[in-house]
Symmetry: C2
DNA sequence: TATTGTTATACTCTATAACTATA
DNA sequence: TATAGTTATAGAGTATAACAATA
């Protein structure tokens, strides 16, 4: 069959297996010096990447989970002072979730640890290969999203 | 900072988010024509990739989960006739888990769907880029494993 | 005594359904 | 009436602890 294709799929699977481990998440939070569960980290990093306050629904869409899940974790993060909620001035039903200073610090730490893991793995790679990886993985994510999109839409609209 | 590095990390995160969705798994099993939960699929495909019967412990290690988890799912797969257990001739404590014909068919279907998704996303890519992606992703998986390994060992031995 | 696996249990993650409030 | 979010509940996924059996 297609050798390259099979190699790509297998490589992806191996990466996913490594990163999905509970132990890996423990390692991440330990290195980052935070006590956060996985959804907490995802939410904080999403807000950090966005660079501005986000609504619950937008966060859920980014993470591709249902909104009650986000509601619960945001409530917990709020109690711990890592995010704060502000009424959306344009829509009284909606809130914006904003990182507090402490929340932003935690998010930065977590994001940095992940980045450092990749950096560590890529040590010794030629700059050309590093650039190629970035280009191709970015393209793959983009094209995979487009390819899977019709399916995603179909399941959503089937609700 | 390092533009390429950040792009790589973000692209990986987007891919992981897509594939971790429950809906994506539903789509996979529907397309494959099987009724299997996620761990079931992982176990069957692992056995298929291995090409020969495997012990519970080896499966757990491949998937990087704890063995009771594998025990439970293998028991269920066995009841459904997708795998069968054979005493390991070399070690009376151990079993080998083998795919039945039906189990192998299910595994092939599931693996094919995933492969087709990648194939679909890569449609329109030049053969050179496809080969480069395979080479670089494979190398990334390998190097990431080596990089994270000391940490993995540390947590394992800390048991 | 060390290793392989199982049973029992509990926790984490996430979905669905029913509801509230604002538009 | 449609939309944004919450509350309540349940189910999947996986870990830990205690145990059994064989080496």
């Amino acid at each position: 069959m297609d050798q390259d294709l099979q190699r790509t799929v297998n490589a992806y699977r191996r990466l996913a297996t490594m990163f999905n481990r509970a132990k890996t998440h423990e390692r991440l939070t330990e290195a980052a010096g935070v006590r956060l569960d996985r959804p907490d980290v995802q939410i904080l990093v999403t807000l950090l990447d966005a660079g501005e306050p986000r609504r619950i629904g937008m966060i859920a869409e980014s993470l591709q989970v249902e909104s009650p899940h986000v509601t619960r974790h945001v409530a917990s993060l709020e109690r711990r002072g890592l995010v704060q909620r502000v009424r959306d001035p344009d829509d009284g039903r909606a809130w914006r979730i904003a990182l507090t200073e402490e929340g932003a610090e935690a998010a930065v730490s977590c994001r940095r640890v992940t980045t450092e893991w990749f950096e560590g793995a890529l040590t010794g790679w030629s700059p050309a290969d590093q650039a190629e990886l970035a280009r191709l993985l970015d393209k793959l994510a983009e094209d995979m999203f487009e390819h899977l999109k019709p399916q995603l839409d179909r399941t959503s609209s089937a609700k």
